[in-house]
Each structure stands twice: as C-alpha cells, then as structure tokens.
Symmetry: C2
C-alpha cells in the first residue's frame, strides 16, 4: 500500500439545485431555486448501515468521511471500492477485510445523537481525551483575513438556493476543498472523506464552517487533528467546553473584519498594533 | 382516561445561556453569551433509547414529543410519567403498558436519518401517504402578517446567544408555544410534546420555524396534521415534494413583508388588490 493509494470510486454527483414555482407577496409568480435533497443508503459489504439525506455533490467522499468520522473504518486503505448508484439511491462500500463487530457498533450508535438529533457512536468523548492538537501551528491575522476574503467570494450553492451549509478546508489563505450539503454533518464528513482520498493531513489546516459550533462539530474537527476551527455562526456551551479542553483555536461570529476568538489564543497571532501618528 | 389526562412530569428546565470569555478583532475582551447544550439520555421503561443534545428549556416536552414523532408511543395516555434528572443527565419515561417491539423499532431507526444525519424511523414516508390535511382551513394575509409581527418581537434566546433554532405553534395571530433548541428537530419535538400534554390539535394551527424546510420538517408538520408551515429560511427539494404531495400550505423566505408561497395555495387568502386611486 502506498501513500497514493486510492480506492475505486464512482464519480456520481447530482445536480445541486432545482427551480420550483412560487408566488410572492405581490401575487406574482416567483420561480425559486432550491437545494436538492437525496436519500442515499450506505451499505458496507452488503450490510445496510445508514440512509443519509444529501445534496449529492460529493456522495463518495461523504460515504468515506461518514465511515471515518463514525470510526467504522480505520484508514482509507481499508476501503477497496465506493460505488454510488442513484437509480437505487444506494452507495455500496467494499472493505478489504470487513468491519470488526459492525453489529455492536451500529447498536451503540442508536443511543447517542447530536445536531439536535444526529448520529454519532458512543465513545467519541472518551476518544477526545487522547487528541493532541499541534502546539506549534500558528495562524496570523493577515492570513486569516485573506482566507475569509476568499471564502466570501467563493461561488456557492448557498448564494443560489440557500438551505445548505458549507464547509471548507484551507491551508493558509488557500481553500483546498469547499463542500456544501443540506446537513452540516454531511459537509464535514465529505471533507473528511476528501482528505483521506487525497492523503491530506489536518495538522496544518484551517477548518471553516457556516454552521454553528456545537459539540459534534468541535469533536469532528479535533478528531481530524485540525487545530483551527472558524465559523460564521455562534457556538454552544459544549462546543466551547470541548474546544477549551482539547486546546482547539476556535473563532466564531466571523463576518467581514469582525471575529471573536474563543479558545486556543496561543496559536492566533494578532497584527501588531499600528503606532499612532506622531509617536516614534 | 379523560381529555384532561396529564402524565406526572418534572419541570426541570435548565439555564438557556452562559457567558464565556472571548477576544474580538481589536484585541479587546468581549464576553459572549452562548446557548447551553446538554446531553439528555432518554430511557423508556428503563431501556436506553437515545441521547439528545438539548438546550434544556423544555426537557419533558422534548422527551414526549420525541417519542410521539418517532412513533414509539401512540397517545399521551400511554405515558404515565416523565422524570428528568440533570444530575444524571437522564430522562426516565414510564409507559402504561410498554412499547410493543421496542427493539425492532430501535433497530429500524439505525438505518434512516435526515437533517443531514438525524434519526427517523423507516416507515414515515409510507405513513405520509395516509395523512389528510384539513381542506377547509384557511389563513388570510392580514392574519399571517399579524403573526409574523408577533414572532418578530418575541423575546428569544436566539437574540441573546444565537446558535439555536426556534419553532412556534400559532392559532391565527396568537403564539401558543415558542420553543428554541440547539437542534431544529428538538424544537419541533418539544412543541409536539406540549401539544400532547395540553391536548391541542394541529388541524387549525400554523407552524413556524426559523429552520430550513427539509423533508423531516415537512413530514413532522404533516404528521401533526398542521396545515400551515412557515419558515424564515429556504427549502429543499424533498421538503418541497412532500409538501406538494400532502397538500401542505408552505411558505418560505418569510421576512418582513416578503414571503414565497410554495404549495397549498388554496388555503392562503391573499388580500384583495387595492383599487388604484381614481378608479371606481
């Protein structure tokens, strides 16, 4: 197995938007662009695992990232093939040697949720205790603002149709991936899948999300060993507490030149204050 | 059993917001109010069912509504007691005569999700075919705008801390319930629980949500037999298709005087156009 290993995958993305008729407050026809939402049932070695509701832009990466973030598969090398067939709304994942105790893991999943009501297996919080984020990674304010500018002008489905959440993985000011989906967690998972497919590490990256910084979002970021998490939105108590515990550098309410730095201050380098005119 | 039946319930709401330290773009301390997020594990007759991440403002109603919307319990009369204990982060539900085939139902749950990755049992779409929404319910534009005004000025956790979704149940312009939670589905479920507790029917009501109109949101509204669904946000393809199929009156992008009426036009009475000055 080499560092360039890549499973056999289809490339079955779906149209992201549709136009539906609507009538506005003036009684006039106002056709409206809306986001797609497709059920995709994930089978691992022919065993049904989950049905995800997805925009469908990156279904193979979503499937891989889901298995990664739910800790069902340990490395990309364990995955032989990922085949998406929209006719049957199915994604068939073939593993190299099966998943140990899949039934037990699936049963565990039923009792823990997030996102309001998401799906995460039980032991994540314990695992979080073992996460060590890189102490030497830094992000300076100029780089941060340059990245925010690129994200702002990025062409998105959200601008066309709303009703989706976006996530980006960046290195410095450069956006490596930008994924949108009807569910926050799907967008994160698809990025996790792309990272595995391309053998991209998290340790020198920045994760951006339009969504709220809840416990699950922070846990997933930490699991991917990404030291920086930035959101346009706010945060919740558990999101804050977990970020503090693992020492994640977390920025919320990022909009234009405004931001709030909540945790992990030591990795964020603020611009030196400009000396006032006239002072030496 | 009477129409005023009410199970024994605790009243264990939690503080909704906390203040955490933050530093803003000027390098200044900017303490920030954030939404609470508490794990609450639901036990039905001592069997562990799910862990919900919740704001914690209406945990008993959330538990009841979850069991209702997941079709685990058929009526409020089946529930004897709901006891929330935050010390143990547990909610114990006692039923009158147990839940038939609970294991089978829980297993089914593992394979279908929504909200990106939520939790819904398998047969909801089939059930949707049997929903008959009231044909004679109407909502006139003046009532609609009066309700939107009340929602706009309603005191919310969102205004203080963001990172939550709100849902309201209204009769005409009057807000009957307003619930916020870190998850969209929790807020809907808590309203479903309150409706059962107070023996409130859905057939002459309006459901408002700050969240997106995805498949699960539309399904839950239809299951509660509520003919009107209004959102500040946009919608997804499956949300649209299901609303069209069941004939729900669905309004999206509701902001100020603007709205888009997508489906179920026949129940929405637009104001008569005002005759132009000078015409008879």
């Amino acid at each position: 197995m080499t560092a360039s290993y890549r499973p056999q995958i289809t490339n079955a993305s779906r149209p992201a938007t549709f136009t539906v008729p609507a009538v506005d407050e003036h009684g006039e026809a106002a056709p409206h662009s809306i986001a797609a939402e497709n059920p995709l049932t994930l089978y691992v070695d022919k065993r049904e695992v989950v049905t995800l509701m997805t925009l469908g832009c990156a279904p193979e990466a979503l499937a891989i990232g889901y298995l990664r973030n739910q800790r069902l598969v340990k490395s990309i090398e364990d995955i032989v093939a990922v085949q998406v067939d929209w006719e049957t709304e199915a994604c068939a994942v073939t593993t190299r040697s099966g998943i140990e105790d899949l039934d037990g893991k699936l049963e565990k999943r039923t009792v823990t949720t997030g996102c309001g009501q998401g799906t995460v297996f039980g032991d994540l919080m314990e695992e979080i205790d073992q996460v060590r984020l890189p102490a030497d990674a830094v992000l300076d304010e100029d780089t941060y603002f340059a990245l925010m500018d690129r994200i702002r002008v990025h062409d998105t489905i959200y601008k066309a149709a709303g009703a989706v959440h976006g996530c980006a993985l960046a290195k410095g000011p450069e956006i490596l991936y930008f994924v949108e989906d009807v569910g926050r967690h799907n967008a994160v998972d698809a990025i996790a899948g792309k990272m595995w497919l391309d053998h991209v590490e998290g340790r020198d990256k920045i994760f951006y999300t339009t969504g709220r910084l809840t416990s699950e979002m922070v846990i997933k970021c930490a699991q991917m060993e990404i030291p920086f998490l930035v959101s346009r939105s706010g945060l919740t108590q558990m999101g804050y507490e977990i970020a503090k515990k693992v020492g994640l550098t977390m920025i919320g309410r990022a909009a234009g030149k405004h931001y709030l730095l909540f945790t992990g201050h030591q990795r964020f380098l603020r611009r030196e204050p400009v000396a006032a005119a006239g002072t030496p």
